[in-house]
């Protein structure tokens, strides 16, 4: 069934869709196994579309009781070896920072799509790109995360696929930033099967319940994020940062436009 499903994915084709739909299709193209989520504007159609696509492609979906749970369920799905993701916005992003801090500390390759919005959960939803700081630095500082920021529907599609690869290759929680306008606006983009384009998909593997006998075939899976001493924690965080710095050059991306004649380039970030 899976093979038949994959065939369906993904004839390369120009389509007309919303940003949220582009994300859902990209997750299918990236061979994501399951989405955990909770409804919130303007993320909803990622969930709606994923749930329309999931039965056609043999994928899973679980609506949890809130975003705290959706974040931790995503962590749990990944620990079980699933290519799992979630998507949320604003207040949901705040609630998921706890689970994402855990993912940072334990290098759990979650993928999370953020459709940025304004307004706490009690307020009116007006869109803007005001979750860059929260998404980049919302954790408790005991680990590292990777955040891609997109500018178009095509980039939403491309970078959602890439986020799964980055997460599983480097084992850092990975985020894709869009915004509410992208979510709802419609434009044309090309959807494709990454495999058809020669993009290798980094395989998943379970963190827990691996094959073999502990101590005979393999060491125990020792997953831990509680520490007694500052010094002990310092070593852990130091190692995480060193690990990131060792591969940072492979991960960091930017595009220079009309900078050839600049002697000094000042980059401003919120």
């Amino acid at each position: 069934m899976a093979e038949k499903s994959d065939e369906r994915i993904i004839k390369e084709k120009k389509v007309f869709m919303t940003g949220n739909e582009a994300v859902a299709w990209a997750a299918v193209a990236a061979r994501a196994d399951i989405m955990y989520g909770y409804p919130i504007t303007p993320q909803n159609e990622i969930m709606h579309y994923w749930t329309r696509l999931a039965p056609k492609y043999g994928k899973g979906f679980l609506q949890t009781e809130d975003e705290i749970s959706a974040g931790f369920a995503t962590v749990g799905g990944v620990l079980a070896g699933k290519r799992a993701f979630t998507a949320t916005s604003g207040p949901g992003n705040i609630l998921m920072q706890d689970s994402m801090s855990m993912a940072e500390m334990m290098r759990i390759p979650t993928v999370m799509i953020i459709t940025q919005r304004g307004g706490p959960s009690t307020a009116t939803v007006i869109y803007s790109q005001q979750e860059t700081t929260l998404t980049c630095f919302g954790g408790n500082g005991e680990g590292v995360r990777i955040v891609y920021s997109t500018a178009s529907h095509q980039e939403l599609f491309d970078y959602t696929i890439k986020a799964f690869n980055t997460a599983w290759k480097y084992r850092f929680p990975t985020f894709v930033l869009g915004d509410g306008y992208q979510s709802k606006m419609r434009e044309s983009l090309t959807i494709y099967d990454p495999l058809e384009r020669g993009i290798e998909l980094v395989p998943t593997e379970p963190f827990l319940g691996k094959e073999g006998t502990i101590g005979v075939d393999r060491p125990p899976a020792h997953l831990r994020n509680t520490y007694n001493m500052e010094e002990e924690l310092y070593e852990v965080v130091r190692e995480l940062v060193d690990s990131y710095n060792a591969v940072a050059d492979e991960i960091i991306e930017y595009r220079e436009v009309e900078t050839e004649d600049a002697e000094i380039l000042i980059v401003a970030m919120v």
């Binding site: 389509v15 504007t41 709802k184 419609r186």
Partner: protein, 220 residues
């Protein structure tokens, strides 16, 4: 003169509102009295609300909330404006712009006078560049979920990247789906900026109608 009653239904972002507005304005240009009703209770984005006044200024009788009249821009559902329930009580043509999918269509049941006078024609707007209505089989299955549908409209396009190929592909696929559903293709619709790509009829012989785009400014 018989009063016309038409409802435009279909897949999310298929172009229902644009087609409904243009139909209402077409009837108005023919000297008919026309009411256009925003019955999209599914989602508050790209509805008639932001352009209600503009459409009224063009001579249409518009029943819609205006942006700012109701609160809540989330997907918390939308209130049925009381006048919407009585939209058919009107001495002219009535064009209904319906929210997407099966849930969207159900709103029609809330209207009074559905069975009176001339029957309501329900037309499904299809864009084959929308992946879930891209093939004959998908369209037949999707339209089947909507209940009674009297005709299809081929509104296949790729936004700014629309070309002759997508319009033709749409005409071909939608015509084949219509044949299977045993309903007619009412028209192929094409945005005015791409009108030069088509003639009076599409490649399958369906009439072509040119759309003036109003919905781009209707984000919310």
């Amino acid at each position: 003169m018989d009063k016309l009653r038409e409802a435009y239904v279909g897949e999310y972002a298929s172009g229902k509102s644009e087609v409904a507005i243009n139909r209402a304005l077409e009837l108005h240009r023919q000297g008919r009295k026309v009411r256009l009703v925003d019955l999209d209770l599914v989602e508050p984005f790209y509805t008639l609300r932001p352009i209600k006044k503009e459409l009224e200024d063009k001579g249409l009788d518009v029943i819609a909330w205006a942006t700012g009249e109701i609160t809540g821009l989330g997907e918390t559902g939308s209130l049925l404006k009381p006048e919407m329930k009585w939209a058919f009580k009107y001495g002219g043509d009535v064009v209904l712009d319906i929210g997407y999918g099966v849930k969207g269509v159900q709103v029609i049941n809330l209207l009074e006078g559905l069975e009176d006078e001339s029957p309501l024609k329900i037309f499904a707007v299809i864009n084959v560049a929308r992946p879930l209505t891209a093939s004959v089989e998908d369209i037949v299955e999707y339209v089947g979920t909507l209940g009674k549908v009297d005709g299809l409209i081929n509104n296949s396009h790729l936004g700014d990247e629309t070309d002759e190929e997508i319009i033709k592909e749409g005409a071909y696929i939608v015509s084949k789906a219509a044949l299977k559903l045993n309903i007619p293709v009412i028209a192929t619709t094409v945005a005015r900026e791409f009108a030069h790509l088509v003639g009076d009829k599409d490649c399958m012989g369906n009439p072509v109608k040119i759309l003036d785009l109003h919905m781009r400014k209707a984000f919310w």
